[in-house]
């Protein structure tokens, strides 16, 4: 998963980044709320990890901005030394998905971050998606097999296909695909999403013969589903 970390203390940021990187996650560290919110306009992470007390805008300011912005339901975990019941309740009521009191314990931090990412449908590292037969979607090796034969895909095609399989049965909006696969680049439009969807349909032979369909929902987005569902 891509994890954006907001933490002004380099000592803590280094350790948290190390723990998560060792688990295969891609961690991007930001020292201020301003740096983070600017970055969020370019790339959307799978999970946001926020400190509360910062020199400029607080972690709560960032959370409020995220929940009111185009980012919507991106998972947010607070990691802070603010350990009072009032603080924990305030953060959760403001839309945080989880809350960790500093100093965090390594395994607990990793487990909680991965849990919120999993609940949000983010793809975990070193994971083979379940229930996709006759396809094998190997996220760790970044390969998709069809009937045990690898299918040649570009990096973006793989990301898009893996995201659709990971969210099978759900309607996924084009804008969400843009954010998750392309990082909401200013130069990429939803037409690009449509073109890539068309290509992965063809390359992966997503049709009745393989028991899947990737349907377009007019003016909304796409849904990957079993063709007999």
């Amino acid at each position: 998963m891509r994890i954006d970390l907001l933490e002004d203390d380099p000592d803590q940021a280094e350790m948290i980044s190390l723990w998560l990187t060792e688990e295969g996650h891609d961690v991007h560290w930001y020292r201020s709320g301003g740096d983070l919110t600017r970055a969020l306009h370019r790339d959307v992470p799978d999970v946001l990890l926020l400190d509360w007390i910062l020199p400029e805008s607080s972690g709560m300011d960032v959370l409020t901005w995220v929940r009111q912005s185009f980012l919507g339901r991106i998972p947010v975990v607070f990691i802070t030394a603010q350990d009072s019941e009032e603080h924990i309740v305030a953060a959760l009521q403001a839309g945080a998905d989880d809350y960790l009191v500093k100093p965090p314990r390594r395994r607990e931090l990793i487990a909680r971050v991965q849990a919120v990412g999993r609940r949000a449908g983010a793809i975990q590292p070193s994971e083979i998606l379940q229930g996709t037969d006759p396809y094998v979607v190997d996220v760790g090796r970044r390969v998709i097999l069809l009937k045990n034969q690898p299918v040649e895909l570009t990096s973006k095609e793989f990301d898009l296909a893996a995201y659709m399989f990971a969210n099978a049965g759900r309607l996924v909006k084009r804008g969400v695909l843009l954010e998750r696969v392309w990082g909401r680049s200013q130069t990429i439009t939803t037409r690009t999403v449509d073109a890539h969807i068309s290509r992965i349909r063809k390359k992966l032979e997503i049709d009745e013969s393989n028991g899947w369909r990737l349907i377009s929902v007019y003016q909304h987005g796409y849904r990957m589903e079993r063709s007999n569902s």
Partner: protein
């Protein structure tokens, strides 16, 4: 958190930074006391940061002391004299580690 997961190089670097942190606590305490009435916000921010990092690197007692200082400042439970004494005890602990 016992610090057992901390790579040796990182732990040594953190250890080497503790005398500098002690100096910073002394400076910030002097600034706090120079204001009338004393302004504890800088000291609180510094203690808050130490409370967060010390335990991660395996220095649980330093983290506990820093957390107690934050608590005292937040609850206004200590006089200027007691907050000063508490800060200087933390400085001594940082230097002795």
């Amino acid at each position: 958190m016992s610090g057992e997961q901390v790579p040796q190089a990182l732990r040594l670097r953190y250890l080497a930074s503790l005398p500098g942190k002690a100096d910073e606590f002394e400076r910030v305490l002097a600034d706090a006391l120079a204001a009338s009435p004393p302004n504890w916000s800088g000291l609180r921010a510094l203690a808050h940061k130490l409370a967060g990092s010390a335990g991660m690197y395996g220095y649980d007692q330093l983290g506990d002391r820093a957390r107690e200082l934050v608590h005292e400042i937040d609850t206004r439970s200590g006089s200027a004299e007691s907050l000063s004494a508490q800060t200087l005890a933390l400085v001594a602990a940082l230097r002795a580690t």
